[in-house]
Symmetry: C2
Subunit: 290 residues, 2 copies
């Protein structure tokens, strides 16, 4: 199951880094009409260069979709490479719909097809029944689902922080619904289910609060680095043993060369490996300093 597999990698590799894969075709040297291929070549190499330094990887579907159907071919290639290296794939697609449509998304991304991942981010605005097709993939197939709870953007307060007449804030209420749903799901040896949550690194206080409130949910924490979250900020996402969360970064790991003619070469691989190792070590140091 997803939580067990993720934690086994966290333990053996001593890494809590999730490698964010957010391709920007404009930064890659490529022949006319071959942007998606250049992107796939580049991120296949970066996965090879960093696979033993990361707990998982997180392709951002939006950046592949922006390349049209060619982009989905590139996404299939990148996910196949991750699978071949044993790196769990957490696809960041923030899908959400109802009924048979939600089931179609679950089939697409948590089924057996070429776009299927080990875990998927989803949006819960449509209610708990809309999440059921995804939760069934947690229960039946051992996959992971990460529900958006508190995001890292300033405007996340517009809806997520609303105070409810019944007490508490909206993200806390949704957290309670998820905690209740998780009680019937299988856990790994550390007590975590496949029903996780997304909490931005820019909300250090929320990380500590939600770590306590949702003891069986793995947290996916984006917003590290480029968006402003520090290693000290994100330490609160982990349990006392240093499990229960992964921290993702994208640009700071994969585009640190600061060039716009990137190719899949040794310089790119070395830069990604150095940046990923530094992030891994910074998080581990912050955990040790708690």
């Amino acid at each position: 199951m997803f939580a067990a597999r993720l934690h086994e990698r966290v333990r053996t590799l001593d890494s809590r880094v999730c490698l964010g894969i957010d391709p920007r075709p404009g930064l890659h040297a490529h022949a006319e009409g071959a942007a998606a291929e250049a992107v796939a070549d580049y991120f296949e190499l970066l996965l090879e260069a960093t696979h033993d330094l990361v707990a998982c990887c997180k392709p951002q579907s939006a950046f592949f979709e922006a390349m049209g159907s060619d982009g989905f071919h590139a996404l299939e290639r990148v996910m196949a490479k991750a699978r071949s290296l044993g790196v769990p794939v957490l696809l960041d697609a923030k899908r959400g719909d109802i009924d048979t449509t939600a089931a179609a998304y679950a089939e697409a991304y948590l089924g057996d097809g070429r776009l299927a991942a080990d875990a998927l981010t989803v949006n819960g605005y449509l209610g708990m029944d809309s999440l059921e097709p995804f939760v069934r993939a947690v229960q039946g197939r051992g996959r992971g689902v990460f529900v958006l709870l508190k995001t890292s953007n300033p405007g996340s307060s517009d809806i997520q922080d609303l105070e409810l007449a019944g007490g508490g804030r909206l993200y806390q209420h949704l957290g309670g619904l998820l905690r209740a749903r998780a009680t019937s799901l299988p856990t790994d040896a550390r007590g975590y289910t496949g029903l996780g949550v997304v909490v931005g690194a820019t909300h250090a206080a929320h990380l500590a609060e939600l770590r306590r409130a949702l003891p069986s949910s793995v947290m996916l924490v984006p917003g590290y680095g480029a968006q402003g979250g520090s290693a000290a900020d994100v330490a609160a996402a982990f349990d006392a043993a240093g499990f229960g969360a992964v921290i993702s970064a994208s640009r700071s790991l994969t585009y640190s060369l600061g060039r716009s003619d990137l190719v899949a070469d040794t310089a790119a691989a070395d830069a990604a490996r150095a940046a990923t190792r530094a992030m891994r070590d910074a998080i581990n140091a912050a955990l040790a300093a708690r």
Copy 2:
């Protein structure tokens, strides 16, 4: 701009029907590995058969995504056919993310690429700043954006109906934020902007309430037919002149033959045309009876 173009078709065709395109590959006869092509052939034909009976069409991205990258090729073909027939494409993909990621989705679906549509459904859980890249496509490119407000599933009450400490329910609060955002957007001759909302046909009382509360937002109303909304239910979504909304149906229009060996033939075209005309007439009769 989108609202003007939609209303011009509503007026000249006297149709308020949005043709939902929800492909189910299992219902189509096809050679091994050619499901996506069979789906594209079928829906191209159905668009030809119904284009003068519908205000717009609404491909459901999930069902194309479930076919993998081949499905995105099929979606590109179906959207190109709709464009060639002059039928506005409202892509139902319920996307939502922050910052540059939201911008990538806006580029993918409201930009100039092969997957670009005339309008897109989006999810506002992440806050108003997350919607800005989409609203910019409304302002700069004349596209349409439809924000999920109140969905047709039973579980929509879990989040959308929550009572707020400040008064009102969550979907009403989000509606207020959208109304405020719309004040600076251009309107068509009937007073509508490109910033619309999605309200399920199963909530007749909400349709009337939101028609009053959001006078400049076109409503996309799914859930007609198969999900239980009737023509009398949805009449409340329209303004006094019969504009300001489109009603979508999918299975009841496109899969009414009840077969699982469908091909792009006269029987399929005739069935879709008859079902679409009947829906158009039922809605118009319900409006006339108000």
